[in-house]
């Protein structure tokens, strides 16, 4: 018979009943609190381990896959995030789950261009200076092309950091960047340190989101801003169905063809479905102590930017 179709599904669904009950009772005996890995149920420890392995496996093809899956639109989303942040020179940014450096590089570009505008404006006001004085001012400003802005890129996964560092070298980013291995649920930083905390497409993979939000609150200075860019829920039902179709039918295939890794991308689309919707996530951020919490939907909610302030 044509085995290409899925007659086995009906068969297994019927068989599944007894098996499910057995699995359920085995789960009850499993040690540790339970959580999800995509659509599976696992313990928290298992989840952390599985997610680590997912990113270890995808690290080298992470950027290529992002471009393929989103047809390059993820770059626009990240640009919007940094524009929303509107950092001024001198800002200290902590980019958590920053892996391959996309946000960090955009931050550096942004403050550099802001700095250049500042310098140009300064020069225009000082057109009465002598040539010598102008040349001297170039020297001192050159060493501050970033104006003391700094970004700390923190990621739990060594492979992702490795890829990020290589990328930085390849693209010519050297000053103003620091790479730190760390866990969003327990950051290796002191209280009240950073002006801005960003987490782009990372918080979905954190096992205890509440802890990550608390940590974000802790390490931000008073007046500091929390910004999260993450996949969210699509409200429009037609778009939602197309999005589901694309996510579940196309993305794992892209993962297999481009990265040779179906399962990691299957996890990715499942983890997106598992993440709380906009309002619920907003409430979680408020629970961590942030004020003026708001969100902005991009592409009808495929992606949302949540923002909050520590006062």
């Amino acid at each position: 018979a044509a085995a290409g179709l899925c007659p086995y599904r009906a068969l297994l669904a019927r068989r599944g009943g007894a098996l499910r009950a057995l699995c359920g009772s085995v789960r009850g005996l499993a040690a540790g609190p339970e959580t999800h890995f995509g659509f599976q149920t696992v313990t928290e420890a298992e989840r952390r381990e599985k997610i680590y392995r997912v990113f270890e496996s995808v690290a080298k093809k992470y950027d290529v896959m992002n471009d393929s899956m989103t047809l390059g639109i993820h770059r626009v989303w990240k640009d919007i995030l940094v524009h929303k942040m509107n950092p001024s020179p001198g800002t200290l940014l902590l980019d958590v789950a920053g892996g391959t450096g996309d946000i960090a590089f955009r931050f550096i570009n942004y403050v550099r261009s802001v700095r250049e505008h500042q310098l140009q404006r300064k020069l225009r006001h000082h057109q009465n200076l002598s040539w010598q004085e102008i040349a001297e001012s170039y020297q001192e400003d050159k060493s501050k092309s970033l104006g003391d802005s700094q970004v700390v890129i923190c990621d739990i996964n060594k492979e992702m950091l490795k890829v990020g560092k290589q990328k930085a070298q390849h693209l010519g980013y050297s000053e103003g960047l620091s790479w730190v291995l760390g866990n969003a649920e327990e950051l290796p930083f002191d209280d009240d340190k950073f002006d801005v905390y960003t987490i782009a497409f990372g918080i979905r993979n954190v096992t205890r989101i509440d802890l990550a939000l608390q940590e974000a609150y802790r390490v931000l200075k008073p007046g500091g801003r929390f910004l999260c860019l993450e996949f969210s829920q699509v409200s429009n039902s037609l778009l939602s169905r197309l999005y589901d179709l694309y996510s579940f039918q196309v993305i794992p295939v892209l993962g297999e063809v481009i990265a040779g890794d179906w399962k990691s991308y299957q996890y990715l689309v499942e983890s997106i479905r598992r993440f709380p919707p906009q309002e619920e996530f907003k409430a979680m951020i408020e629970d961590a102590g942030f004020f003026k919490v708001d969100y902005q939907n991009l592409n009808s909610g495929i992606v949302a930017i949540h923002s909050g302030f520590k006062l």
């Binding site: 044509a2 085995a3 290409g4 899925c6 086995y8 579940f248 196309v250 063809v257 479905r273 919707p277």
Partner: protein, 255 residues
């Protein structure tokens, strides 16, 4: 919460390929797997995989996994055919029952190396060493939705190196194309046909000439003349001389 999940959970035929579905209860991973490594896929996904793997295999010939995926997703007619050929042949039937695997852990390499020159075992080991390949690098099947057919395609992959040995072809591009022509005639797998047709595009003109005038006609004639190569229990024939085995199967001597 659960409301969201049941909206996201697929209805039958929706074709989500997750390894299990979560409605109200939790399901152990692997409940819908037919064999270890199996990834259930919808027809749409298979079509996309077939197209994507074909393009990727052409673009990057080192992506052997893509050739494997192409074979699995397009083999829905050829594989049952092969399985039936095996079932109706005494030796093939035994292979289907016993499910032998050709792996370094199951082969006694020293014994094979010690066999006289010209025997299947000795020449096979020579082939592996000369070309620096190992039988363990064959991809396990993932997208075949039948456990027995998954074995058939696995057997086909593991027997590929023996095909090289019997045909006397090395593992360079030219040799691989010749073997693909032979396999295309023998198995009817679309992946072999595509590989045979498109493989030569990367060959030089001189090689193409040799291919077209001598090697391919020979491969086709042998393929047509030979009995089904999956019906040979190679593991029980290591001592048999290669020439005798060739004659028995019906492969003409290489040019």
């Amino acid at each position: 919460g659960t409301a969201r999940l049941s909206r996201a959970a697929p209805r039958a035929g929706d074709g989500r390929s997750g390894e299990e579905e979560e409605v109200e209860e939790e399901v152990e991973e692997g409940c819908y797997q037919l064999y270890p490594g199996h990834i259930p896929t919808s027809p749409l996904q298979k079509a996309l995989l077939a197209a994507g793997s074909a393009v990727m295999a052409l673009y990057d010939p080192y992506r052997h996994d893509m050739v494997a995926v192409l074979g699995e997703t397009t083999g829905c007619l050829a594989l049952p055919n092969l399985r039936d050929k095996m079932k109706h042949h005494p030796e093939g039937y035994r292979i289907l029952q016993e499910r032998p695997r050709i792996r370094l852990s199951t082969l006694d390499m020293d014994r094979l190396r010690g066999l006289p020159d010209g025997t299947l075992g000795r020449e096979y080991v020579r082939f592996l060493e000369d070309n620096k390949v190992s039988p363990d690098t064959r991809m396990p099947p993932k997208f075949v939705d039948d456990e027995e057919l998954a074995y058939v395609i696995q057997r086909y992959r593991e027997v590929h190196d023996l095909m090289h040995t019997l045909l006397g072809m090395p593992t360079n591009m030219l040799g691989e194309v010749v073997v693909k022509w032979f396999e295309a005639v023998q198995t009817g797998l679309p992946m072999c046909v595509l590989g045979a047709a498109f493989g030569p595009v990367r060959l030089s003109a001189r090689k193409l000439q040799v291919l077209a005038t001598e090697l391919v006609p020979w491969a086709i004639r042998s393929g047509r003349n030979a009995s089904c190569i999956l019906n040979v229990y190679y593991e029980q024939r290591w001592e048999q001389p290669v020439e005798s085995l060739r004659e028995e199967i019906g492969i003409f001597p290489p040019p």
